[in-house]
Structures are given as structure tokens and as C-alpha cells.
């Protein structure tokens, strides 16, 4: 009985989530970008989730950034073929995740958005996720159209350009978004102590609870 039951569960889950059943390699846990969208009012005046652009996740689904609403997100831009800084950025993000105290760690998600729509297909993002051991429970990997990448970068204050070798020269920046998608803090540069970011995340998780009636 165990086998058919689990089959039905998987089928039901994929129907609920609108997944394409033909897609062969959906992970068991869907990354934060690709879970059910909770109903919410219009985004705030400063929310990044006002962006209407569509992004492709490493599980191959098209999403708008608004799906990330509801939990704080730590966002960085990168590309999988990066030879210099991106591994350090990723290392900084992972160090930040480790530095979060128990209880907070479970509430914070991480988003990596690619500069490189050409090469960062869902497949290569998926391979990057596996190689870098980015758990689907908290990590989202996205790529988008060149115009939309340019626009998101502009919102974050990230400058970048592609060189003749196909490498992207870019600002190194980690951005914290609160649950509403508003920028609450940005850290420029590499290899910094995560202390301040941890404090900012702590505050952002506590604040809405304090304000609640």
C-alpha cells in the first residue's frame, strides 16, 4: 500500500502546486520561490515585489519575485561561471546562515539571482545548487531576461557589465529584504563579519511581531 499512496501524494502535491508532471527532476522540497503563494494585499511603496518581471527558478518554474513575500530574504546577484568573487559571496551568505541563531535561521531565506541569462539555465542553476549544497528549504536560485536583470540590479544599486570573455564584472553586494520585500540593509564588499546582518535580520523578524495588535 505504501507505494501507490506516496504516488498519489506526489501527484496531488504537484497538481496543487501547478507543477508540470512531465518535469522529471522536481526536488522533494520545493525552494522558497516555488511554494504556494499566500494571498496578501498590494506590496508596499518601497517593496521590491512591485516588480512585475518573471524569473525562472532552477526547478524550471516561472515566478514573480512577489512569491518570496512573507519571510525575510537575503539576496545576492552572481553567475555560475564566475571565477573570482561569486564563490566568496556565496561563502559569505553561507557563513551568515550559520551565524543566525536557532529559531531565526529557520525563518530566513536566501536568493541568488544570476547576471548571466544565457548560460545560467535552470539546469546549470540546479547543478550549482547541488555542487554548493544549497538546501531547497531556504535557497532560491533565479535567472531572468537581460532587461529584467538590469532593472533588478538598478533597484539594488548593483552595477555590472559583461566583458569580452563572457565574465561579468559586478558590484559585490548582499541585500537584506524584510518580509514585505523592502531593503532593510545592504553590505558592500566581501569577507565581512556577519554580525551586523544577523542583528538586522533579528530586528526585522521581531519588529512585525512587536507591532502586531
Amino acid at each position: 500500500m505504501k507505494f501507490p499512496l506516496s504516488c498519489i501524494t506526489v501527484l496531488a502535491a504537484s497538481l496543487l502546486l501547478g507543477a508540470d508532471p512531465a518535469s522529471p527532476s522536481l526536488p522533494k522540497i520545493l525552494p522558497p520561490c516555488c511554494r504556494e503563494l499566500k494571498p496578501a494585499g498590494p506590496p508596499t511603496d518601497k517593496s521590491l515585489y512591485q516588480l512585475d518581471s518573471e524569473w525562472t527558478s532552477d526547478v524550471g518554474r516561472k515566478v514573480k519575485l512577489g512569491v518570496l513575500r512573507g519571510r525575510p530574504q537575503v539576496l545576492a546577484m552572481f553567475f555560475t561561471h564566475c571565477e573570482y568573487a561569486c564563490p566568496i559571496i556565496l561563502n559569505d551568505l553561507q557563513r551568515l546562515q550559520k551565524a543566525l541563531p536557532d529559531g531565526l535561521r529557520e525563518q530566513v531565506d536566501f536568493v541568488l539571482v544570476s547576471f548571466d541569462p544565457e548560460r545560467d539555465t535552470p539546469e546549470s542553476l540546479r547543478a550549482y545548487r547541488e555542487k554548493s549544497q544549497l538546501g531547497a528549504d531556504h535557497w532560491t536560485l533565479l535567472s531572468g531576461r537581460p532587461d529584467d536583470v538590469r532593472e533588478l540590479a538598478a533597484l539594488l544599486g548593483i552595477n555590472y557589465m559583461k566583458d569580452a570573455r563572457g565574465q561579468f564584472a559586478h558590484s559585490n553586494m548582499i541585500t537584506l529584504l524584510n518580509a514585505e520585500g523592502e531593503i532593510i540593509r545592504q553590505q558592500i564588499g566581501l569577507n565581512q563579519e556577519p554580525k551586523e546582518l544577523v542583528a538586522a535580520l533579528k530586528q526585522s523578524v521581531l519588529e512585525p511581531q512587536r507591532n502586531r495588535p
Binding site: D20, D45, A153, G157, N159, N191
Partner: protein
């Protein structure tokens, strides 16, 4: 992407893709003239001011149709009429800072401080981009803008004309007048484009591709901590001081900024004739 299950759909999809490829590979349609208010700018070569050791010294830029003057208050008024989310009182702070259209009298009233034919200023990059999209056009890339701006009123190679560079430089050190002149009062460049210099600064689509952390007056030795790949960049032509100024200016902007001397204009790709019909003619026997 959804799988295409029906064979006919697949065939149609293939034909559409083939057509798209053919269109891509086409040549500019002969005899097509630019829409009213736009001029044809021929293809050319842009020589970037900053480049890495592996980068091209010369970037080919395709021919395009370019608005002959910056977007005016009248043009922009029509845009905000039709797109209420871009009116001054309604624009999201994310997309424009608090100075957005500050010189207008009201949401739909430019007022005496912003006459019809003055270029619209105090608009953010997002607003400029939204206007261009609404028009069915686009912002120019920095390469396209710089190439157009390198053409002088008397010489195509304006950057080799000391008088031309001096005039631009003179404008850069002159404070923005309290009342902006109207568009198209100066001589156009050889392609018929007005006001690339001497009136306002202009947003470009990829203004945020400039990798400078602060001051761009010299080779600043970009900080590798701040910019991935930064160590590889250096300036190529130090004699073109105005281009330096623009490079520094652009790199200091954020997309939501609005400034009393910063506006924009739009461009269009020149439509191309499909080459499919050409490839159908048999090639001569070897």
C-alpha cells in the same frame, strides 16, 4: 516551459522560430524612413573609454532610429495622463525619489516652471524606461548614446575636433540655468540629432554598467573588494575628458534618482527585411 504535444503546433512553433531567426539575420530595410520626430543614425563603432585587457577596443553598434530631441514636458504629460501610476502623487518611492517632477505645478499640470518644449527632467530611470516602453520604443544603450554623441555638427569624428570637445566641456562647467532652454534651438549633429550636448544629461538603458566606486576623474584603481573583475579595468583615452565626465556621472546615479538636468530620449531598432526570401534563390553552381 510547457511541452508542445500537438505536431501541428510544433510545426507552427518551428516556423515562427525560423522566421524570428531569419528576421534577426536580416539587413536594414531599404527605403524605410524613420518615424516622425526620429532620425536614422547609421551603424558605427563605439570605442569604450574603460575596458579590460580582454575586451574589444571597438564595439560595433547597429543602425538605429533615434529621437531627434529629448522627450519634452508635453510628451511626458501625455504619458502620465495615460499611466496614472506615474503621476507625481502616485509614483512608488521605489521607482522615483521625492524629487520626481518636482518642477511641475501638479500631477497633470506642468505649470509655468515647465513649458511645453523644454526637455522633461526630474525623472528617474524607471520612469524613463516606462515611458519608452509605453511608446513602443526603448532607451539607448550607453554605447549607442556615446556613439551618437561623438558625431559633431561639422565633422563625423567629433571627438577629433578640439572645438567640439571644448564646447561640450564648457557646457559641463556651466551651472544648469534656472529656466532650461527649449529643445532644438542649437545646430544638430551631422545625423540631424539635436541636444545630445549643451542642454541636459540623459539616462541610458545600462547606465549602471559603469564600474567605478567613487571619483572617476582619474584612473581610480577600482577596489577589488567592491567589484568583481574590477582589477582588469583601465581607461583607454584620457584626452576625451567629456566622456570621462559622463562616465563618472553615470556611475554616480541610482535608478530612482531624479535631477533637474537629467532627462532622456528613446530609440528604435531599424526594422529589417527578412532574408528568408533571399536564401530561397538558388546559389550559383560551383
Amino acid at each position: 516551459m510547457r511541452l508542445i504535444r500537438h505536431p501541428v503546433t510544433a510545426v507552427i512553433a518551428f516556423l515562427l522560430m525560423a522566421a524570428a531567426v531569419a528576421l534577426d539575420a536580416g539587413e536594414p530595410a531599404p527605403g524605410k524612413s524613420a518615424p516622425a520626430g526620429m532620425v536614422s543614425v547609421p551603424a558605427g563603432i563605439y570605442r569604450p573609454l574603460f575596458r579590460g585587457p580582454d575586451d574589444l577596443r571597438e564595439v560595433p553598434v547597429k543602425a538605429l532610429w533615434l529621437e531627434e530631441a529629448p522627450v519634452t514636458n508635453t510628451d511626458f504629460l501625455e504619458f502620465v495622463r495615460q499611466n496614472p501610476q506615474w503621476r507625481r502623487s502616485r509614483v512608488a518611492r521605489l521607482f522615483a525619489d521625492s524629487g520626481y517632477l518636482r518642477h511641475w505645478a501638479g500631477d497633470l499640470d506642468p505649470g509655468p516652471g515647465a513649458t511645453d518644449l523644454q526637455p522633461v527632467v526630474d525623472v528617474s530611470w524607471f520612469a524613463a524606461k516606462a515611458y519608452a516602453t509605453w511608446k513602443g520604443r526603448r532607451l539607448l544603450t550607453t554605447a549607442e548614446w556615446e556613439l551618437a554623441a561623438s558625431i559633431g555638427p561639422d565633422h563625423r569624428a567629433g571627438t577629433n575636433d578640439p572645438g567640439f570637445l571644448r564646447a561640450i566641456q564648457h557646457w559641463y562647467v556651466t551651472p544648469t540655468p534656472a529656466v532650461l532652454p527649449v529643445v532644438k534651438t542649437r545646430r544638430p549633429n551631422l545625423d540631424g540629432v539635436h541636444d545630445l550636448h549643451g542642454l541636459i544629461w540623459e539616462w541610458t538603458a545600462d547606465f549602471n554598467s559603469a564600474l567605478v566606486s567613487g571619483d572617476a576623474r582619474g584612473d581610480t584603481g577600482l577596489d577589488r573588494q567592491l567589484f568583481c573583475g574590477a582589477g582588469s579595468l583601465g581607461a583607454t583615452d584620457r584626452s576625451n575628458f567629456p566622456a570621462f565626465m559622463r562616465f563618472g556621472f553615470r556611475s554616480s546615479l541610482k535608478a530612482s534618482y531624479t535631477l533637474p538636468n537629467l532627462g532622456f530620449r528613446c530609440a528604435l531598432d531599424v526594422p529589417v527585411t527578412p532574408v528568408a526570401s533571399v536564401t530561397l534563390t538558388p546559389s550559383p553552381a560551383p
